[in-house]
Symmetry: C2
Subunit: 456 residues, 2 copies
């Protein structure tokens, strides 16, 4: 036995009391949101009809490096946090690598992912503001589950627009949301104007995340004392997810672990942004030289093949414009794509950090991702979510490189969740029927054609 245990659990009293706001340290900030009507930077007042007041304040806070986690939210966190930082001894053995591999495991709560970290915070602030109900969208279903859990706890009614193909393919995920009292509406639906419009233009469509966002926003704006909440992309979501990075850093410091490489999957960017936040702050200040790698699916390659441009967050083109790496809000990944990470754009913070070369990105194909996931499940016991297995894939690739070079690198990756509601994808992999898809340049051009013309 080495002195590093399999699982490092911080005691509850050492749980972080502050979220980490990396924007306070960034040398250049991401540009502000642009109001789609005025084409001027959004003010807090512009955002107020859609979002909770305190979340807007956090969204626009570029100066405070540490923002206190309210005691009530920490109380919620105590139900499932701190999450373990795990030394992947068995994976190291399997790969026969001199590298040390660690993963921060966010899948030990019922939502099955890191999403609960922001859901708990957002619903707390909604309750504090005295809101009567909330709306949101969900794709793979992790965010919808997390939010319905938090809404059940704080007793706030929730409507979840769930991408129709996902609601059909994952009836059990839908059932979990309903068990927690959330109302699930498959999207596009006839309950909103934008939904009816999309249905008219694309009869039989399975929907998309961007379309579900449009419907959720429309409903929130039209409903008295209701607000919309989002599970990724926005700065305040990354802020809440920084609890992952804070805990990871505390555990590393406590046990003398010095990661040389931190790897996370990126869809909207909240898990990655949260995991790396405090380490990134140190890197910007010149205190470390960690290599940060965001991993995305080859079928939805916003960082590696997208454009850094102002774009809408949704298909309906109703949200403020965010400068981000994007494939265009009209881009819809191939239906053979199994896991999440199918968002056309990317967090503004992550986009800026990528553009300014504080991090790199890689795109991986899904068959290789499930190969890694299966090997990991068999040796480490945990069945990963397909999303998380993207990061795992690159961690394994890097550990195998170390085997070749003999380097004893310390690799850390985020295992964001479990795959218990993704078994249809595993079945397709097990049956050998899973295929890969890489969009052609022409495919991407179609998406780019939906980018707004913005002259700033």
């Amino acid at each position: 036995m080495t002195s590093i245990p399999y699982k490092i659990y911080l005691p509850e009293e050492e749980m972080p009391k502050y979220w980490y706001n990396v924007k306070a340290v960034m040398k250049e900030l991401p540009p502000p949101f642009i109001h789609p009507g005025t084409m001027k930077p959004c003010t807090a007042d512009d955002l107020r009809p859609i979002f909770c007041d305190e979340l807007i304040e956090q969204e626009l806070n570029n100066t405070d490096e540490y923002i206190e986690i309210p005691e009530e939210v920490r109380e919620y966190y105590r139900m499932y946090r701190p999450s373990p930082l795990v030394r992947a001894y068995n994976l190291e053995k399997l790969l026969d690598t001199p590298a040390e591999i660690y993963f921060k495991f966010e899948g030990t709560n019922t939502s099955g992912s890191h999403k609960l970290n922001s859901a708990a915070a957002q619903v707390y602030y909604a309750k504090k503001q005295g809101l009567s109900s909330l709306t949101t969208e969900t794709g793979a279903g992790q965010w919808g589950t997390a939010l319905s859990m938090a809404c059940a706890f704080y007793n706030i009614p929730l409507t979840v627009y769930m991408v129709k193909v996902s609601a059909e393919q994952k009836p059990y995920r839908k059932a979990v949301i309903e068990t927690y009292g959330g109302k699930v509406v498959p999207s596009p639906s006839d309950t909103t104007e934008i939904g009816r419009k999309i249905l008219a233009e694309n009869p039989g469509t399975g929907g998309s995340l961007g379309c579900a966002i449009s419907e959720a926003i429309e409903t929130s704006v039209k409903t008295e004392n209701c607000r919309y909440v989002l599970g990724s992309v926005l700065d305040h979501v990354l802020l809440h997810q920084s609890v992952i990075g804070e805990e990871t850093k505390l555990a590393c410091d406590k046990y003398g672990i010095e990661p040389e490489m931190i790897i996370g999957c990126v869809g909207g960017g909240s898990n990655f942004g949260g995991l790396v936040a405090p380490f990134m702050g140190d890197k910007i200040r010149g205190k470390n030289n960690i290599e940060f790698i965001g991993v995305e699916p080859a079928s939805c390659p916003s960082l590696t093949r997208g454009k850094y441009a102002f774009d809408f967050g949704d298909t309906g083109k109703t949200t403020p414009l965010i400068k981000m790496y994007t494939l265009g809000s009209g881009f819809i990944p191939s239906p053979n794509h199994a896991g999440g990470l199918r968002y056309h754009g990317m967090s503004g913070i992550v986009s800026k950090l990528y553009n300014d070369r504080y991090m790199t990105a890689r795109a991986v194909e899904q068959s290789k991702v499930f190969e890694a996931a299966t090997a990991f499940a068999r040796c480490e016991g945990i069945l990963p979510a397909p999303e998380s297995a993207h990061a795992l894939r690159v961690a394994m690739d890097e550990a195998l490189k170390c085997k070749e070079t003999g380097q004893k690198k310390t690799i850390l990756f985020g295992l964001t969740g479990t795959g218990y509601f993704d078994m249809a994808a595993y079945m397709s992999y097990n049956a050998g029927t899973m295929t890969d898809y890489i969009p052609t340049d022409a495919d991407l051009e179609k998406g780019f054609a939906t980018l707004p013309k913005v002259d700033l």
Copy 2:
């Protein structure tokens, strides 16, 4: 904040090094197994064609109170143990009870239940003995999953006879087993003599656990260097599960928690037997006066309405006879029964302890069980397995009694697992279509009629 944290995680170095063998302390032992051919007590040699050698030794060990957990098994345990002992602060608040409620949560591993504790041990011993393959049966699928995980780790081929109705209703549970490399055969099947016989006699049957056991045993006996492994009922399984009780007791001692009531669900009895083992040892020695309650479904009430008699462990009547509380090996619970805990019999140890009044038992109806499960999920975040929610139901009932009486009782229950693969049952509860079923005396008589005539 009180001084008891939400979740007590023992550090890995404080993990138990010994399993606890309650038989060494029992004033009267359960009678030995009876060989169905000779009608004499089974010897180790009688059992050798079916079971691994070291497991037989453990099965027949009535003298050693502590049996060492091999370092290799502890190594496996470290991947997911120690499991947390949780203070259910939010449930206490919901119930507005003066009682203190704790639960030992075994659902944080991918098998989703406590079953992995015995699977890891059994497969380790199989590997040590140099066996080429293993067979088993699974009902709800938790044991099959756990065993396939352990078999993947130790690299031993596994065939799982899965109750046909369960394999059909839970394709994703089947997929998890297959992801770990287990071969799933829906039972009854045409791959065994007993399966063909049952199919001929009951065309279209959905199968039963007792029938799947018969098929798994037949295959193991007919296959070179293969053995059968069982996930509950037997003494060595309860022994392995005592790691739950050992950890619980260590955590209680460390934090000065003195449970006055320990509650566990009982199907075959392994979780309950494991959870209570070391506390029961102390009770037998007069060192505590804890009330132990086993909770079973009203639709399969082996303790509360069964007979204490010698019976077969399987429908095919091929196993040794065990003296146990049983409904008769021909008893099949109503198809509307949603959760596990559908075994006709009960662990010999638990049966003896129950018969000798060291514990009590209660039967609960499933609609009340799912009501408790849903309330718990909403306030404590964890979506329980239906099985586990039986224990939860009684813990809640007892806490509500304390509210009436004002008693500040310390109640501890076993939350054996998560319900992520039981969403069809939750859907039926959510939709209001779940019904209860209590067998009539006439129904039970049909089962009792299948009891063997044994004159001892």
